[in-house]
Every structure is written in structure tokens, then in C-alpha cells.
Symmetry: C2
Subunit: 497 residues, 2 copies
Amino acid sequence: MFRDRIRYAPLLDKITEAHEAASHIKDGTNLFISGFAAGYPKEVPKELARRAANGEEFKINIFAGASTGEELDGLLAKAGIVGMRRPYMGDRAMRKMINEGKIRFKDDHLSQLSQMVRAGDCGTVDMALVEAAAITEDGNIIPTLSVGNTPSYVQKADKIIIEMSGEDPPTMEGIHDIYVPEDPPYRMPIPIYRTSDRVGKPFIDLDPNRVVGVVFSKSSESYHHFSEPGEVPKSIAHRILDFVRHEIKKGRLPKGLPWQGGVGDVANAVLSQFADDDFFDEMDLYSEVLPDSVLDLIDRGKMRCASGSAVTFSKQARERFFERIDNYKRHMILRPVEISNNPEIIRRLGVMAINTALEVDIYGQVNSTHTLGSHLMNGIGGSGDFERNSALSFMVTPSTAKNGLISAVVPMVSHVDHSEHSVDIIVTENGLVDTRNLTPRQAAEAIIKNCAHPDYQDALWDYFHRAVTERGGHEPHILEEAFSFHTRFLEKGDMHL
Amino acid sequence: MFRDRIRYAPLLDKITEAHEAASHIKDGTNLFISGFAAGYPKEVPKELARRAANGEEFKINIFAGASTGEELDGLLAKAGIVGMRRPYMGDRAMRKMINEGKIRFKDDHLSQLSQMVRAGDCGTVDMALVEAAAITEDGNIIPTLSVGNTPSYVQKADKIIIEMSGEDPPTMEGIHDIYVPEDPPYRMPIPIYRTSDRVGKPFIDLDPNRVVGVVFSKSSESYHHFSEPGEVPKSIAHRILDFVRHEIKKGRLPKGLPWQGGVGDVANAVLSQFADDDFFDEMDLYSEVLPDSVLDLIDRGKMRCASGSAVTFSKQARERFFERIDNYKRHMILRPVEISNNPEIIRRLGVMAINTALEVDIYGQVNSTHTLGSHLMNGIGGSGDFERNSALSFMVTPSTAKNGLISAVVPMVSHVDHSEHSVDIIVTENGLVDTRNLTPRQAAEAIIKNCAHPDYQDALWDYFHRAVTERGGHEPHILEEAFSFHTRFLEKGDMHL
């Protein structure tokens, strides 16, 4: 079965065992892997962890597409062999070590890393380690359920190891659209004019001479788990749909702009709500990751095209996807993240972006990455690519976290990833505020009143009113009290007064 | 002389006095003006101020391209008739009233306002008031020394007043390139592939039927003043040129990427240094404003093309420009700010962006807009458009301000406009730090050591080391001390311990 997937004979000679292939990875190797939620290698990482367990001392630097599963980021972090990691990650063990300063983590905007790697800005591209569903007759790679930065990693790597997936069938050939733009100053427009445009090849160009090993993979990867949307995500979703419907009816927003939804339950909930909404009938998704709800929308005939760089499927969705892949392929495109998140395309198509905040402040500044100012959650991912260049940018968050002990609306966010200039609309389960025509002071009044949880409104009003009278200014702040919510939480585990 | 400039006969009938034209502007009028550093109307504003001085009570909302001179923003602010103002401004009197909450100011990214206005997101477009150098035979507008948002304002306005400039000669016809993109979801690629590409018309389309008055202007506008570059801007400029030269020699940066320089002395100083540098021989500038030094570079045969939305010329440069305009026109293009600052083009061309920070923090977050967290300086302008989407983004600042009483490198900036994810390189007169491969902790060490002023390094090291040991995390902060530099300044007028 595995050998059938390698339709280019010379690569059959490169078939080897994981430990053989892994022997090319040494202390100091810059390792560029496939993987963006899905589609990451699993056998060679196991081998690297085994070597570490056997006492070999070495560190590698990992460049991925975005997050991978526990079988890669978690395993290698725990093995103590990750020197540096970039960009976005989502593994608990790795997060802990990053926050302890034991793993060096650099949080790149996802759209930019491929170009930096091609330019040589990230050091030598020693090794690419990528998962494949098949090798074409001409020796090129059919990736699995993500594209990420793989095309550029494979283009630039000195050596390449391919892990043939035993899990994902080669029938997925044709879902990918691989376009690697020329680099400045010779770049021409990226010829995507509509979400559904295909502009590249269905495979990743590969130089077979640089392949040092082809490994058969018997492992399966972590599946995503989506909670059934609760009342809070549902309420947020309804507020967004109501708002957009209203803007369209008022003639301020054309019908048919594509959507983007960040990672997580809220984004999935928003998409789910479309399924039962008659107003939104022909949807496009120009996004980064495609969750379970995409399949529902395709089945109901509501999704014209879902374009992204990867899927984040649950086990059930994955099975369903492969059962009817010929159908889904007609409505789905997986692109390099450099293209799925490209500012040129996002601005051109007029994407409506929905991303999740950890906390927002009364003036609309957004923290997506660091709790209490210091501790990394996952990373900025593509939220900066989309929020900054979209036609309409939503930032969503439940109004509280930790059973109400944390207010997601604070006087000043403890870390800023997205400035008020780039964030258009703030949504919690309590309300939605369109800041586009509001000054910071007006935004503060609206956000406290409509978005903050009632438990915290008095404290926020008190801060805001005193900031206005005691300090004044365009965006009044009392700097010595700006983080009082956070320091209270640090002291007593509760942001309440 | 004035009448010769109106080459479309029907508009001769619309010639009127300023007070007549101004009578169309009433309480609550949304007034959309030309003007981006240069090219703003002057006669009708005088008339509005006169009416206010005579006791008429009214407020107008002003939408510009960016800053205008004292004859507009200053005059109308002092007259007390500005209800709202957007985007970027730079007038002292207006700034004071914004910070007092007396003028509502909304700080838009410059690239986005035109599209929002066309979509109807900013309310009714009651009146456009625009300066013209000439009216073409077909009744279209030749603008003066800026384009800004004027094409979209004129396209959408219910009524239009034209001020014929008495200052700028109609010989400037041909320097402008007016391209208004179709709006999403029907936008196609903006066909600019090289800085020097012209893709539009040399005039702004005008519907003469909506013109309610043509006024002759006898006023001249505020000229810019550039200081002879001092040691600090020169040192910053040299560090940038050395760095870029080094990257080019290492093969990590192609030669010939276009530059962008923000407003102010440092940006002008950087451009000045090119004139005496043999390595940078054929320059392109894909920028927002074009300062005096552009003329030197053209004269020396070093500037292939300088593209922007406006000029910021001193009186001398302005005279020199008009004396040899046929020569300069061959190397200069003035575009709508939606195009000069467009993320699609900035990313495609691979612009190297240099913008000025008010303060940076040890982790590379940047404050461009608010002093001590609360008080607006000028606004974000185009810095967000360029920093976020450039191939290489520099943030520059002298290491201290106010004779050393303020450190421009602080533990945490008191307001964030540009996050560490978007800022590549920090430069002060003391040194340059390339953060692209540094974790936040590594960036902190490098920025304290290389960029901070020696006077403040001990206090910064102390904060950083304690943050690491006491709080830890990916980006360690002690929230209750994060603004200690600022609160010390508030208390005793000095950030020194």
C-alpha cells in the first residue's frame, strides 16, 4: 500500500527506517517541518525522542507551519531537545518550557515566515521533514491535510526527509493549490481574484536528489475536539451575524464578502450558525484553518468555497471528509499559509475577519497572546495578518474567564498584539461595539456598557471617569492603576474588587 | 491668470466668492477636504472661522488626507467649530483640544479611510472641499501637491467646492497618478509592479454638476521646515545604511528594494545620507510623503522614482521644485494615499520601511502616538500600513528626549501602536538591533545594551532581571512596575532614578 503511493521510481530507493532518516538530524540542525494543526511528521520525531531518552545530548531548532500535535511539539519539548521553535504553537508541555525560558520561541506573523526563510533571514535550511500523502509520477509531493510553509521549506532545504502518511489517503490529490510567489523586487500580483481561484499546482515541487530518506508512517495524529457550542459562543455568533446582516441591508457592506475565522470554539460556533441562517446562502471562507463546520456548510449547499492552509477536523469530521472526499474537494482549497494569509489577497477580497482575544481593553486594544502580560498562550498566529488587512475586523471573547474570576475587559490590556487602529468591532456575549466611528473615549463608554460583564462595569467606569478627570488626554489612562485588575488577580486569584 | 486654469467653460459660471461657497457648509456638515501635508484649501476655512468669530454657532466634522497647516486645522480648531476630525493631524492648537476632549479625533490607518468613505461607513459625504491647480478641458481636477483621499471624497460628495490655487502652477499636471480601486468583492489586482509604474489618470474625475462653487485662492500654505540633520539623526541614518548594505552583501536582501520614510527629521536625514553614499546608486522610494532630500537625490541622478501621496517641502525646495518641474516630474509620482500606502503593493514591492517611534520597550513594542499613555501627539498616520506589510521594518528614535529627562527605551511602552511581531529592527543613535531572530528575552538584552541611553541602562537591566526571576514567562513583566519610568516622570519631570 505504501509503495503504491510513491509513483516516482527513483524515490523507492530512498525508502528507509525512521532511525536511519533521523540520523541526518544532529545537534544544532535547523529542522523545517510540515504541519499546521494537521499534517505534521510523526515517525522521525519519535526517533529523535528515543535518542534523547537514550542519553544523546542534542538540540534542534524547529520551524513549522503553525501548531502541531502532542506527538511532535509535546514529545520533543519533553525530550528536552528543542532549542528554538517558531512560529505559533499550542502544546501544553512546550508552552510551559517556553515560559520558563527553556525553549526559545519567536512569534512570527504566519504570512511572513516563508519569505524570510527563502531570503535566508532565518539561517541555514538544513533539513526539511515533511509528511506526504503521495509522490507524483514526476517526483513531486502531494501533502496531507495542511500546506503551511512546506513548499518554501522543501524549496530551500539542503536535505529532505519525507514521511509517507499511512493515515490520509492519496485521494486527496487535487485539494491543494501550491503557489509560491516570486520574491521582491520581482514579485507580480498574486492572481487570486475570488476565493475559489486556483492559481498554482496540485503538488509541491520537489528536487528528489535532495531526499535523504522516505519513511513509512504508521502513526495517526491528534484530532481536534470541538465542544458543542455553548450559550456564550452562540450569543457572540448571533451578534456578529445580526450586525453583518444589518450592514448589508443598509448598503454599507456588499453581500458575498468572504469570511475568516480564527482557531477555536467561537470561530467554529460562528460558522455553525450560518448553517441555520437563510440570509447567508452562498458563503466563501478565505481563512487559515477550516474546522468541522465547513463540512456541514458544504453538505447544505451553502459553502461556495472554503480556502485555507489546513483543516482542524475532529475524528468524526476527518472520517466523513475522506468518505466523500470527491465532493468536498470541489469546495475546498488548501494553500500555502503565505497565500491563505496574504495581505494582498485579504485586502483585495475584502475579508471579514473574526479572531479571538484573550482580553480587550476599554479603548479597544487587544491581547491575543500573553496572560498577565508575561506568559505566552499560543502565539499571534494569523490574527495579525487578517485583523490588519481585512475589510471588517471582529475581535471576540467571552466577557469573563475562569468562572468569572477574570474579566476579559480591562482598563488596559497587559500585552498588545492588535492596536485600536486595526480592530473594528469588539464582541462579547453581552454585546457588540463597532468602534469605527468612535473616538477612544466614546469606545470606552460603549465597551464598558455593552461588552464588559456587569460584575466588572462599576470598576471599569470608576477607572475611566477618574482617568478622564485626573489625567485627561485623547486616551486617558492612570498608568499606576492601569493594571489594577491584573495585579489584583495576581494577589488574590480574582479580579473582583 | 486664474480663469486660464479653468479649461472647462461650464465651471467658469461656478466662480464665486469664498463666503458664498462657504454658505453651503452648515452646522453638522461632514466636510471632506483635500490636504496631506500640502494641498489643503485655505479660503473657505478662513470664511468659516470668520463666521464663528461673528458669533455663529456651528460645528463641522472634518475628514482630510492627513495633516494640514495652521491655516486649516489650527484656524478651525481655535474657532471652536470642529466637532470631529480624522485621520492624522499635526496642529498644536488642534492637538490640545483633542487631548482636552473638545474635538473628537479618530485615528485611522491612512490606507483605509477612502474605502470606508466609499462604503458609507463614515456617514454622509455632504461636502468635498478641494484645492486644484487646474481644471482640464473635460472638467476634471488637477490637484496640487498632495492627493490623499481626494479622489474618493470627490467621487462620493453630494456637493463640491473647488479652491483654485494661486500658488502652485498648473505645470504640475502629469505628476499625479490617480487610480481608485474597485471595491471588494470585485477588486482586481492593483497593477503596480514597480515603483515607477503609472496605472491611472493624471487628473481626478469630477462630476461638474455637483460643484457648488469655484473659489480663487490668494493664500499660500505653511511650508515645512527641516533642521540640518544633527549628529543623532545622522548616526541613526548611518546605522541603517550600514545594516542594509551588510544584508545585501550577505545575499539576504536583494539590491533595489524601494524605501519608505515616515514624516520628520530622521527620515529626511536617512534620505540625505544616500546622496553621499556610492553603494546606493539607483533608488526607489515607495513612500507616503516626499521631503526636500528627494530633490537632491534626483539632481544627483540617484533617484529612479519617488512615489508618494504628497510632498513635505520647505519653502526653498518648493521654489526649486517648480523652477525645474519638468525634470522632477519624470522622477516623481503623487498617488492617492490608498495606493501609496496599500498593503498589496507594499508587500509586493518589498518596501523597506523606516518610521519614527515616540518610545520603544525592551521587547520591541512601539508607541508612535501617545505620550505618557494618554496624550495624543499626531496620530498613527501610515506607519501601521508600512510597518505591518513591509519586507523590512525599521523603528527609529533618539534614545532620549527632553534633554535626557525622558528615556525613549522603557520597560513597557505606555501605548502600543506596533507590536513586536511587526517591528523588525530598532535603531537609536547608540545602536541597531535586528529582532527578527530574537526571542523577547533576547531582544530585551540586545535593546537595553545597544539602543538604550547609558544613563538608563542600569534601571532597565534591573527591571528585566527581576521580571525574569520574579515573574518569568515568555515576555517577563512586573505589571505594577512596568510604567515606573513614566510615573517617575509624572512625579518629578525626570525618568532618572
